[in-house]
């Protein structure tokens, strides 16, 4: 059954509210969007709403961290990453403040709200900041682990919280080690490296390839930074082609991070992602088709690379 990533985020926060006295939650008038309203209901004294003022919330979070607390600042990715970029850069990252940024509604799966609200550049922006660590969980079970892990870590962490409800791919026993990608499915011919919602499409693409006798590995990169270089190089030595898949612009995002590691390796490489475009209004599944974020496109890219390499 599909479940909400945001509800999982809120449930993890509530668990932290019970077990970690240092955790506080900050909002910018989007508690009913990020679902932190559920935390607020249980722990009103640990919840601070800054109103529609993301910059003040982010710097305020740094202030809380300087007082020894562990603040989770929540809003939509567009306004957190976008509006408050310089606050994240100069206050959170430059000072290496112990602030957790949990931003929802990344990518085009935001849907009908349209391009103004669809952040397709957050991974690129966050990735270039020293001290920042980035988690992009693929399902609700993994979301909770990301939140618990972020609370235990010192320093800035960005958690990317996708909007749609999704089925769980991982389970309670799946490891969540920052910077260590998980092999979801083994394969020898091609490797699909995916993050967030695209892990689901990667598995569907692998199914289709398998029907044709092509063995496709699928790796879930729940951590975008630090990127799992060992996994990437290990796969580069094993398969003939690597395809990345992300709900994000291909400029500077997850695929770029993989490409930076693959530079000079003898392996075919292609990216599935948003091609230098803004989003637009539509239903998420329509938008995924429009922007090529589909199992078919991943499948096509794999086939294209394998045919080039002689299979």
């Amino acid at each position: 059954m599909a479940e909400s990533m945001r509800t999982a985020y809120a449930e993890a926060l509530i668990e932290l509210g019970k077990t970690n006295e240092k955790v506080v939650v900050l909002d910018a008038d989007l508690g009913h969007t990020t679902m932190t309203c559920a935390f607020q209901e249980q722990f009103p004294e640990k919840h601070f709403n800054f109103g529609i003022a993301e910059e003040n919330m982010i710097c305020g979070a740094a202030g809380f961290s300087k007082a020894g607390l562990v603040p989770f600042a929540s809003t939509m990715a567009m306004f957190g990453m976008g509006r408050a970029f310089e606050q994240i850069r100069n206050t959170v990252c430059y000072m290496n403040a112990n602030v957790k940024l949990a931003f929802s509604h990344p990518g085009i799966s935001v849907g009908a709200d349209g391009g103004s609200h669809q952040t397709v550049e957050d991974l690129a922006v966050m990735r270039c900041l020293p001290h920042m660590r980035i988690f992009a969980p693929c399902d609700p079970v993994e979301m909770k682990k990301a939140v618990f892990t972020a609370a235990r870590m010192e320093g800035p962490v960005y958690i990317r919280i996708s909007r749609p409800d999704v089925e769980n791919i991982t389970d309670e026993n799946t490891p969540f080690i920052p910077g260590k990608a998980n092999i979801v499915r083994n394969g020898e011919d091609v490797c699909i490296m995916a993050t967030g919602l695209m892990v689901h499409d990667a598995l569907k693409a692998a199914d289709r390839l398998e029907e044709e006798g092509i063995s496709a590995a699928v790796v879930n990169f729940h951590t975008i930074k630090p990127i799992d270089k060992d996994m990437i190089l290990q796969m580069a030595g094993r398969v003939r082609a690597i395809v990345t898949a992300e709900e994000h612009t291909v400029l500077g995002g997850f695929g770029s991070a993989v490409a930076e590691v693959l530079c000079g390796q003898n392996v075919g490489f292609a990216m599935v992602g948003i091609e230098d475009r803004f989003g637009q209004s539509g239903q998420p599944e329509e938008l995924f088709r429009e922007y090529g974020l589909t199992p078919e496109n991943i499948y096509d890219k794999c086939k294209m690379l394998l045919s080039k390499s002689g299979k």
């Binding site: 109103g51 979070a61 300087k66 007082a67 000072m95």
Partner: protein
């Protein structure tokens, strides 16, 4: 303590630091110096032996470019050796061009990008209240800085959260990089704006009168943050720098250095 002599000594330190560095912000450092002196010598609970003491009062110099004044005071109070002042802005120095709390003992917060320090300071005050700590958080902003939208986000939030453990001091010298506030972007009746936002507002007519500053810092108000507007002189203490916006961030050359030091009673 002999405030007048100490002030002269610190003014000389500021001029020498900026001269040795080859760059820096003399005008704003000299205008804010007396405010910081009252805070660090008289008002704030601090311990130079234990800079990270959990219950200390905090100071966030939101107008971070004026850090030579802060560094001069911190060195004088023994947070680090005075000789280190002459490394300001140089490679490997603990004294960065703008405050870096991870490098400099006694600096409570990174600042430099205007507006952010005030907001972090308000967050610290919120954290202190949440933890039921009784330390006080001070922030010093510039008048040009008050053109940043963030200052007005803090004006709202600090009143909303009833931060009576939070004091914002305005170093009101009337000048910024491109000219006077009025020429660049008038800040209007700033005391009236903070009062209307629900703050306890205090005016200090002479921001270089130690007693007046001290008196103002003692006037807190239950359930309200305090805003203290100090009328100051940019470049205070060096006649040819006073009230001249050109001295916001100009390099101090050797003849200027010698002339300034002579006025300040140095060699």
């Amino acid at each position: 303590m002999d405030y007048q002599n100490k002030e002269k000594e610190l003014q000389r330190d500021i001029i020498k630091m900026i001269y040795e560095a080859g760059s820096g912000h003399a005008g704003g450092s000299l205008s804010v110096l007396d405010i910081l002196m009252v805070l660090y010598y008289d008002v704030m609970k601090t311990d130079p032996e234990n800079p990270d003491w959990e219950d200390r009062d905090r100071l966030v110099l939101s107008k971070g470019h004026a850090c030579p004044a802060l560094y001069a005071i911190l060195a004088d109070r023994g947070y680090f050796p005075k000789e280190e002042l002459w490394t300001l802005r140089k490679l490997g120095s603990r004294l960065q061009g703008h405050p870096d709390a991870n490098k400099t003992p006694g600096v409570d917060c990174n600042t430099g990008s205007l507006g952010q320090g005030a907001s972090i300071a308000a967050g610290m005050a919120m954290g202190a209240k949440y933890l039921k700590k009784d330390y006080h958080v001070y922030t010093v902003i510039g008048d040009g800085e008050s053109q940043e939208g963030m200052i007005w986000e803090v004006a709202m939030s600090a009143a909303h959260f009833k931060l009576d453990n939070f004091t914002m001091i305005l170093d009101h010298n009337g000048l910024q990089i491109d000219g006077s506030n009025d020429d660049v972007m008038g800040i209007g009746d700033i005391c009236g704006k903070f009062a209307a936002s629900g703050w306890n507002v205090i005016r200090v007519k002479d921001g270089h009168d130690f007693d007046e500053i001290r008196l103002a810092l003692g006037q807190r108000c239950d359930k309200k943050p305090t805003f203290i507007c100090c009328e100051t002189v940019k470049g205070h203490g060096v006649s040819f720098m006073e009230n001249d916006y050109g001295w916001h961030g100009k390099t101090i050359d050797t003849p200027t250095y010698e002339a300034a030091m002579k006025e300040l009673g140095g060699r």
